[in-house]
Symmetry: C2
Amino acid sequence: VITLAIDVMSGDFGLRSAIPAVQNSLQQFPDLHLLLVGDADAIQSALPANLSREKITIVAAATVVTADDRPSRVLKTRPDSSMQLAIDAVTEGRAQGAVSAGNSGALMALGVLRMGVLENISRPAICAPMPTRSVSGRGGVSWILDLGANVDCDARQLHQFALMGNALVKILAQKPNPEIALLNIGSEAGKGNELVQEAAQLINNDVTLNFTGFVEGNTLYDGIADVVVCDGFTGNVLLKTAEGVAGFIRDKFTSLAKQSFLNRVLAFLALPLIKRFSAEINAEQYNGACLLGLKGVVVKSHGNASAAAFSQAIACAYAAAKQNLPAQLTDALSSQ
Amino acid sequence: VITLAIDVMSGDFGLRSAIPAVQNSLQQFPDLHLLLVGDADAIQSALPANLSREKITIVAAATVVTADDRPSRVLKTRPDSSMQLAIDAVTEGRAQGAVSAGNSGALMALGVLRMGVLENISRPAICAPMPTRSVSGRGGVSWILDLGANVDCDARQLHQFALMGNALVKILAQKPNPEIALLNIGSEAGKGNELVQEAAQLINNDVTLNFTGFVEGNTLYDGIADVVVCDGFTGNVLLKTAEGVAGFIRDKFTSLAKQSFLNRVLAFLALPLIKRFSAEINAEQYNGACLLGLKGVVVKSHGNASAAAFSQAIACAYAAAKQNLPAQLTDALSSQ
């Protein structure tokens, strides 16, 4: 049995997206047990009648971390929050993984403070799958990290990201020898800034990694790597720019609807597709993000994730917990 | 009379996009004279019969810089290239600005070596307009710099970029007090890496600049600033990611055409629009980019720019030359 602790109170929709996701996930994974962490009364009344009570345990939590709470102070300002108790369930061995749609900074801070960081890791990183043009065998995603936890990185950290991404893809995509690329502003050797140059050497010299070179923002979507490594500042800019562009194109089609009749019909037909493609591009939003480098499995679902997206996050935590991702990360890092 | 030197040989299409752009521009600006730099015979035979020969001067150049030429060696390996002679025409006072669609690195290197860099500037920057949702008075673009000339920046350089972007928007958009923002991964003060924090202080303390705070990749398209400042590594990743996302969405619609009849019709109708929106997003490609910080006006047209895009680049050089952008940059920088 795999037990996961789910913070069902956080995020923009709280129970409204968490409970349907809980129901989906229990149907999908017969050996899954869930700790539902939050307001016990509210959870009780939100649970559908047909949901098997044997598969869940309600864990009462007094408070909820909000988007405005300062991550570094959340332990003090929100004692017994649903987020903290979900993390603690993993730390104390009552669950093998935690999922929350709450404040990312707070989730990372609680993970670091309550679980601790793996040996040989400077700081954990955030990793999410980006969609790519499907390439055979790669399942149409590249996992990219760091997406914002480390805004000032050195080359050693980028090397650690490569090792962690490598271990993650081995587990989640069941690829024996993932292709690792570094994000850069040119594909030729010698291009890029000092950080990327130095990191390329470290990663290339690591015989446990299959380094395939540089990838650029425009070739990212060609699916030429399983793992794309970058510093957290650049990764976050990339993620948000992708979201911005998708939104810009969507709005262009929306404004079409105010024009001629033909354009209105076209917008009516095209908009659902544009929205689907935008959702795909907003990968973190759609699929959840793994916090890598903590001593336990923690998956962040996006704040405004739908029930389907929340289910994806639970599925990711399930796979990582089932294969004991932290132990595999420890192995990968100990050989350094 | 404003005289511009046009490298008509470079870029993917050479004369095929340059000559129609030359014709457009001469119609658009009655006081424009153009030096057409390149293979004199090829230019002669490419010129349309109805183009007034009084408005142009052909300048013979023996060679063409290619995309594969190493920027640092182009002076030696390609003596008398059309790119170099266009730059030299400005340096020697025979033209007030140069336009080329060739190798960006080579253009920057020749600009630095043959024109020199303005006082108080560490290195020139590349600046291009990004499209935004139209906001009244802003004309639907934000100028962003640096887009790749400076991969390792310090805060002083970001401050210089702010000053140069400010001067450029004053001239090109005729805005008296442009709004200057810094690209960051959060909008709250205190967010971001050390570089951005330090640059924010410098720019905020500069009374000649109207600093409005941080902008993120997803709010970039909301048009909340006239000038967006970032280091060249991040800027280049941003530019190429935008291109990548637009291409990804375009390909999604293209692949629709292989599905049901309705989807084929939809793709047929939607694709021209998607292509137009993608072209808008590929701002550098569509509008050309200014090389700021050189002692002369240099505008880079994109390598695979159409005649319309090449015309935009000439128009940009015309405006910058007419208002003597280098002199205005010198003024803006001397007060520091």
